[in-house]
């Protein structure tokens, strides 16, 4: 209370019983206003979260039949590129040949693929450094020193298991959640 009169009154009457109840009403009224304001924030904040139509489009189906060994395609998953790559036996061997201790983000090819589908490498096409799209999925694109992907923005190099080997990126290309619906079809998300 910023008024002299008010403060003086409550101070002089502070010992009387009634005043506590009165102060309580003021505090309660202000608290109620505060609580109301906080609750109002819920819709104001959550309106920025993805809307229903965006969430509904969060699965992508990919047909694997046209992808031959050694080839890769780019699909769209949550408005971001998804790399689907059919590894050759040589590429699988190259990935398996690397000791895990040499890796910045140690993961084996088996951990990054599904059981029995070692040749299907499905990763996000988003460099873990600052989010550029690495090269290597398209026909004839530069696959970098390690034969996987190469990010032209800041020179990150990924190997045939899309693991970070060189450059500024901190992590391997992310493997999204997906499952094989049939042997030739995956559902991502």
């Amino acid at each position: 209370m910023a008024t002299d009169t008010g403060t003086a009154d409550s101070e002089t009457l502070a010992t009387e019983d009634g005043v506590r109840r009165r102060d309580f009403i003021n505090i309660a009224a202000v608290s109620a206003a505060g609580a109301g304001a906080v609750i109002t924030l819920v819709p104001l904040v959550s309106q920025m979260a993805p809307s229903k139509d965006v969430l509904a489009e969060s699965t992508t189906e990919v047909d694997l039949t046209p992808i031959k060994p050694g080839q890769a395609i780019k699909a769209m998953f949550r408005k971001q590129p998804l790399f689907v790559r059919n590894l050759t036996a040589k590429e699988i061997a190259a990935a398996n040949a690397v000791p895990l201790s040499d890796l910045r983000d140690p993961q084996s090819l088996e951990e990054r693929t599904k059981d029995g589908k070692l040749n299907w490498l499905i990763t996000m096409g988003v460099c873990t450094h600052l989010g550029c799209v690495p090269l290597g999925a398209g026909e004839g694109e530069n696959r970098g020193e390690f034969g996987g992907y190469f990010c032209p923005c800041h020179g990150s190099q990924y190997d045939t298991a899309a693991r970070i080997r060189k450059g500024p990126a901190p992590k391997n290309l992310e493997v999204p959640e997906y499952k094989f619906e049939t042997d030739t079809k995956i559902v991502v998300g």
């Binding site: 008010g6 009403i25 309660a28 009224a29 109620a32 109301g36 489009e57």
Partner: protein
């Protein structure tokens, strides 16, 4: 000075508008009536009351009814009317499971693009697709419907006065103009002997200008076989599809009502507190004796 100018400006507008009044009054006096009576003004009918579970501040949707209404839309209305703002995924709100929504979506054919040739083709719907339009464009719609475009139905329940009641009345209100009488018992044929329903149009007193390009869509009981066993009378089908269109127009209605009551309760509580606080603060407002 302001007042002198103002006085004349005021008189100018007042005399100007009273002059317009005089001319208007003269016209009224010479023609002998205030408003010309036409078949539309005399024989148009206001929609009959319709009670739905979504009515009123406590209203919420009856999912079984909405599912029946959806069935009517799917089997009857969709031949001509689009549902542009509704996606198959929205059907989950009617109580369908995820798998049912998927199956329902797949039972519709939506426009697609052949992934190999890039040509326009069709494919089964997926939950993220929106309900397909029955006509490729307005011209096609006009050509197929006696030069009238069947309106989109997504917002119909909000786009007409007393929306759901209007939909229900319109669907059940087709009648013969020769025998039609309005609420006052006046016969259309007697009052307006020249009134005619042009060929290709259908008489419906609930439609603003009485003649409507839509043929009666619900013609016989049992036109739809409801999965839940409800007898499909014309009235039942019209009511259910009206309820369904209330949902398509405002899917958030239930949540809105649900949110409203706690908000009002809280505000009432806070306002009572504010009143007590105000009283308490003002009790201190004394006039000083200096």
């Amino acid at each position: 000075m302001v007042r002198i100018i103002g006085f004349f400006v005021g008189l100018f507008f007042a005399v100007g508008v009273l002059w317009a009044f005089a001319t208007g009054a003269y016209t009224v006096a010479s023609q002998g009536y205030l408003k010309e009576k036409t078949a539309e003004t005399e024989f148009h009918r206001h929609p009959a009351a319709l009670h739905l579970s979504s009515d009123g501040p406590f209203g919420k949707f009856d999912n079984r009814q909405l599912q029946r209404g959806y069935q009517v839309y799917k089997e009857v209305c969709k031949a001509c009317h689009s549902l542009n703002h509704v996606a198959f995924r929205d059907l989950a709100e009617l109580g369908y499971s995820e798998a049912e929504v998927k199956a329902e979506a797949a039972s519709w054919t939506v426009p697609g693009i052949d992934p190999n040739t890039g040509e326009e083709t069709t494919r089964p719907g997926t939950p993220t697709d929106y309900f397909p339009k029955p006509f490729a464009n307005d011209i096609a719609a006009r050509a197929a419907n006696h030069n009238a475009i069947p309106p989109d139905l997504s917002l119909m329940a909000k786009a007409r006065h007393e929306g759901p009641a209007y939909i229900h009345s319109l669907l059940t209100g087709f009648t013969d103009p020769a025998t039609y009488k309005n609420e006052d018992g006046k016969s259309l044929k007697q009052e307006f002997p020249d009134f005619q329903t042009p060929p290709g149009l259908y008489f419906n007193p609930y439609f603003a200008n009485l003649n409507l390009a839509m043929p009666p869509p619900l013609t016989s009981d049992g036109q739809v076989t409801f999965k839940d066993g409800t007898p499909a009378t014309v009235d039942q089908m019209a009511t259910d599809v009206a309820a369904f269109l209330v949902w398509t127009a405002e899917p958030s209605l239930g949540k809105r009502h649900q949110t409203g009551w706690p908000v009002l309760g809280f505000l009432l509580f806070a306002t009572v507190l504010a009143f007590l606080a105000k009283k308490q603060v003002w009790a201190r407002a004394r006039v000083r004796r200096d």
